[in-house]
């Protein structure tokens, strides 16, 4: 690789690559636009939030979700790329799960969409498997003394999603209202869900 190529602005590199591949008929512009639109509008943490709200309000669904995440998630219509096999990890007052991909940026796209920048950042990838309590504190989550912390490194095609605790004081809320409380961060395990 020459220096010139190494130091191309990525915004220019992508235009050059698209231009070459479209010209060769290997990809088409419509497919690019579709993918962008899909991950901007249809696939995101609002999907996972529906799964969580259902699990909070339907004990039998919760059991199915923890026994076979992929199937239970598919019941709500979510599946596809980066979601071949999804395992759901249940957080409780004493057990806290948190998910990372140290080697790249594996993430359960069908339920959470594309990962946020901190998930892809070397600081998170390197630190959460070594000092999770310290890294979670940087992300704003202070865990109680004695919490059983379990870090999951997504190194195969299994994808992990966290089922956060239902916050106290939400007994009166509907499944739809509950879904609006569930944040992306809570489903990765770097936050808890708060009552409104």
């Amino acid at each position: 690789m020459t220096g010139a190529q190494e130091h191309l602005d990525p915004a220019l590199r992508v235009e050059a690559l698209i231009s070459l591949l479209v010209e060769q008929g290997l990809i088409d512009q419509a497919a690019i636009d579709d993918l962008i639109k899909t991950y901007e509008q249809s696939i995101g943490p609002m999907n996972g939030a529906k799964v969580v709200a259902r699990a909070w309000t339907d004990p039998e669904y919760r059991e199915r979700l923890l026994a076979d995440g992929t199937a239970a998630i598919a019941e709500l219509g979510f599946n596809g790329q980066q979601g071949e096999h999804i395992v759901v990890l249940e957080n409780t007052p004493t057990v806290h799960h948190v998910v990372v991909c140290t080697l790249c940026s594996c993430y359960p796209w069908p339920v959470l969409g594309l990962p946020p920048s901190w998930y892809k950042d070397p600081a998170y990838r390197s630190g959460i498997v070594r000092e999770p309590r310290k890294v979670l504190a940087q992300l704003g989550l202070e865990l109680a003394e004695g919490t059983d912390i379990r870090v999951f490194d997504s190194s195969s095609e299994v994808r992990y999603m966290v089922l956060p605790e239902r916050p106290a004081g939400t007994e009166h809320l509907s499944e739809e209202d509950l879904a609006t409380l569930v944040t992306r961060d809570s489903m990765v395990g770097v936050a808890k869900v708060s009552a409104p």
Binding site: L8, P10, V14, Q24, I27, T102, C104, P132, Q138
Partner: protein
């Protein structure tokens, strides 16, 4: 390869910076880069392992510079590997798009790799029974392959406990090089933080999915 991507447990990257909410793409070029990489990877054999390995080979300083920047360089590696697009073509096209009247080099000769596949996706049936059972103590081999692997340095030579048997999968170490799928059993193996980072470490457990060829029975 023991590259910059294998950063589990590395120190010195500073604090994690929070972003409570952010759009999927923070600039239009990032959305294009994401879509281009997915489509280029499909065109080059729909092999997610080959794409990951192509990103791992991005020079470390460029790897650290930006996420979609390294994806683009990875896609370019992948396209160059299969003779679909050369780095020189990209440079020339970028220059032309910037208004410089440079000559474009001849395209390379395509030699797209072919690999027999057991079906879509990465989950496979393996007829031999799993070598390890839930509860078994397993020791991680000290493997240092020159090519792609999903065995990070920080668990090598460590002993853990099998907590779950996951669906068997295409072996990334073979598939990334288009050498075959070599499906293998996959285990969720749990390690104590003490085993990974020594006596002074925070108390926690680390679970990671390891392919059967990475493991041996603990002594």
């Amino acid at each position: 390869m023991d590259g910059i991507h294998d950063m589990g447990g590395m120190q010195g990257f500073g604090d994690v910076r929070v972003s409570k909410s952010e759009p999927p793409f923070s600039a239009p070029w990032q959305g294009k880069a994401f879509a281009l990489c997915l489509l280029a990877s499909r065109a080059a054999g729909a092999n997610v392992h080959a794409f990951r390995y192509a990103v791992e080979r991005v020079p470390p300083a460029d790897y650290l510079a930006s996420y979609y920047g390294r994806w683009l360089l990875g896609a370019q590696n992948l396209l160059a590997d299969s003779g679909m697009v050369s780095a020189e073509q990209v440079a020339a096209r970028a220059a032309r798009l910037s208004g410089h009247d440079v000559a474009e080099p001849k395209p390379p000769k395509p030699h797209k790799p072919r690999m027999p596949s057991g079906g879509p996706g990465n989950l496979r049936r393996v007829d031999t029974p799993p070598a390890f059972a839930v509860g078994d103590a397993v020791h991680v081999k000290d493997l240092h392959p020159a090519g792609h692997t999903r065995l990070p340095r920080y668990v090598r030579r460590r002993t853990g406990i099998v907590k779950a048997i996951q669906p068997a999968q295409v072996l990334p170490d073979s598939a990334a090089h288009f050498k075959g799928e070599d499906p293998a059993h996959v285990y969720s193996v749990e390690f104590s933080s003490r085993e990974l980072w020594g006596a002074g470490s925070e108390p926690f457990t680390l679970s990671i999915d390891l392919f059967e060829p990475y493991l041996e029975a603990a002594a």
